[in-house]
């Protein structure tokens, strides 16, 4: 029984990381109506930047803050330079841009920092807590994720800017009519998504180690989480991310073994698409054909 609780708790801890990355995916999805395949690589690139800052002797939380800020700027720049020109283009063009961005960032990481696997420090250490139920890194990253999610919630729910960003996601035409600069809101959304992704990258790197492909698996879990919760529901994405974390850990321990854990993400994706394509909290889309 203690083993199961251990799996559930560490599932919630990694699930938090999936939840934040899933939230980033959903934010971009709401703005562009496409899944940003480069979300993981953007986070990896940010994590490498933190790695460089840490090597240069920066204190952890200073490197953390600089990385999150830099990621925001990177996200805004990607929207302005790469996405703005293809805003009206067909779906496949956007998919092409996302995949191109993924390859560029992936290759750039390898080119600048090489492809060898590097250890990445955790600010929380790896001590065993609560009688071996959870590690200090898991507990610490869980707390950081909760704080991030809370901040994001407060921002969207209670600030004027957050309301304007939600308005743009729902109805860009009407948003323009009340004087909202829709382009600026989209850029801001990309910046926020990149920042949230960077936090996820920084917290997962001590677990999976740093290499240019470190987010491949994580992104797949996050995608499963976003889909499970509903691609158009930020709350659903967070819920889905946590659920997938628990499913991954418990299923990996008792069902398929750690080697086949990633299969569980694919199973979740397949199950959602077959049983309830709109996800747990998403809205079903009806269209006349």
């Amino acid at each position: 029984m203690i083993g199961l609780w251990h799996q559930v708790l560490s599932g919630l801890a990694t699930g938090g990381i999936y939840a934040s990355l899933a939230l980033a995916l959903v934010m971009i999805y709401q703005a562009t109506h496409h899944v940003n395949f480069a979300q993981g690589e953007m986070a990896t690139f940010s994590t490498y930047l933190a790695y460089t800052l840490l090597l240069a002797g920066a204190p952890y939380w200073a490197a953390f803050a600089v990385t999150v800020l830099f990621s925001f700027v990177l996200g805004v720049a990607i929207e302005r330079v790469l996405l703005r020109p293809v805003a009206q283009a067909p779906a496949l063009t956007l998919v092409g841009v996302f995949i191109g961005l993924l390859l560029i960032l992936n290759a750039l990481c390898g080119w600048i920092w090489d492809f060898t696997i590097k250890p990445f420090p955790s600010p929380f250490g790896s001590a065993s807590m609560l009688g071996g139920l959870i590690s200090s890194h898991e507990l610490g990253s869980f707390a950081v994720i909760l704080l991030v999610l809370l901040l994001v919630y407060v921002f969207f729910r209670f600030t004027k800017l957050g309301l304007a960003m939600r308005a743009v996601a729902y109805n860009p035409d009407s948003s323009r009519l009340v004087g909202i600069d829709v382009g600026a809101m989209l850029a801001l959304g990309w910046g926020l998504a990149a920042s949230i992704g960077a936090v996820a990258g920084l917290l997962i790197a001590p677990v999976v180690f740093l290499d240019p492909n470190m987010m491949t698996g994580t992104l797949l879990y996050a995608f499963a989480g976003a889909l499970l919760g509903g691609l158009d529901s930020p709350v659903g994405a967070v819920l889905g991310g946590f659920l997938v974390g628990v499913i991954e850990n418990v299923g990996g321990a008792y069902l398929v073994g750690t080697e086949l854990k990633l299969t569980l993400a694919l199973a979740v994706i397949a199950a959602v698409l077959v049983i309830k394509p709109s996800g747990l909290l998403g809205r079903a889309v009806a269209s006349r054909v």
Partner: protein
């Protein structure tokens, strides 16, 4: 009487198809101008052109400033509030959030007083304050759309077929409210309507648009008296 909005030689096209072939239109400061025409005449396109939402050639002056090259949100910030056809409600958001979005360009300190003032015209919106806007009736959504536009404190209020799809009683109520708003707020109004009787009753100036060309324009009383308009648009 000075012109608040002066459109001249306006052409607009969707792709290669030109739908407005050089129209002139004037809205007087403090006046109500009705723009009439059949389906497909280009009424909505005219409004979209003024708001900078379609490609145009020609001149659009608002309070003396050329606005033809501005983005929609910039036009809105200059003081033109459009209530679009289909009302443009943020259906997923609450009535309160819709109204807060209307006041987006204004200082937050003014918000509650401004909302109270708007509730004076639309008392039933007050009861629906926390409700999701998509659950309102058609008439209430039209009222919400006008309320949202009024919260922008516009110099020019532009309405695209406010009577569309509503019961005659609701339509009369909305037109009564618009008359009161015009008198109390001193806002100029440009009204696009298929219901020519209603529109010409409210307006002091009128225009008739036919397939992208302005075929008539002048005092609303003249349009009401015109034999051709009577036959085609007023039905007597």
């Amino acid at each position: 009487m000075t012109a608040l909005l002066a459109v001249s030689g306006l052409r607009a096209s969707y792709g290669p198809i030109e739908v407005l072939h050089g129209i002139d239109l004037c809205v007087a400061e403090g006046g109500i101008t009705a723009l009439l025409g059949a389906n497909g005449a280009g009424k909505t396109t005219t409004l979209r052109a003024i708001m900078g939402a379609v490609r145009t050639m020609g001149e659009i002056r608002f309070a003396g400033e050329q606005i033809a090259r501005l983005r929609t949100d910039q036009v809105a910030r200059r003081g033109i509030a459009l209530v679009p056809d289909g009302r443009g409600t943020f259906r997923e958001l609450t009535v309160e959030e819709n109204l807060r979005l209307g006041a987006y360009t204004r200082p937050p300190a003014e918000l509650s007083a401004a909302v109270d003032r708007v509730f004076g015209y639309f008392p039933n919106l007050r009861e629906r304050y926390r409700q999701q806007a998509g659950t309102l009736s058609g008439g209430e959504q039209q009222m919400l759309a006008i309320a949202r536009a009024l919260l922008m404190q516009p110099r020019l209020l532009v309405l695209d077929e406010p009577s569309f799809g509503l019961a005659p009683l609701i339509v009369r109520e909305i037109f009564d409210i618009m008359r009161r708003v015009h008198e109390a707020e001193g806002v100029s109004i440009l009204l696009v309507e298929q219901n020519a009787t209603l529109a010409l009753d409210l307006a002091d100036q009128g225009y008739l648009l036919e397939t992208g060309r302005m075929v008539m324009g002048g005092p609303a009383a003249d349009l009401r008296a015109d034999a051709a308009i009577r036959r085609s648009y007023l039905g007597y």
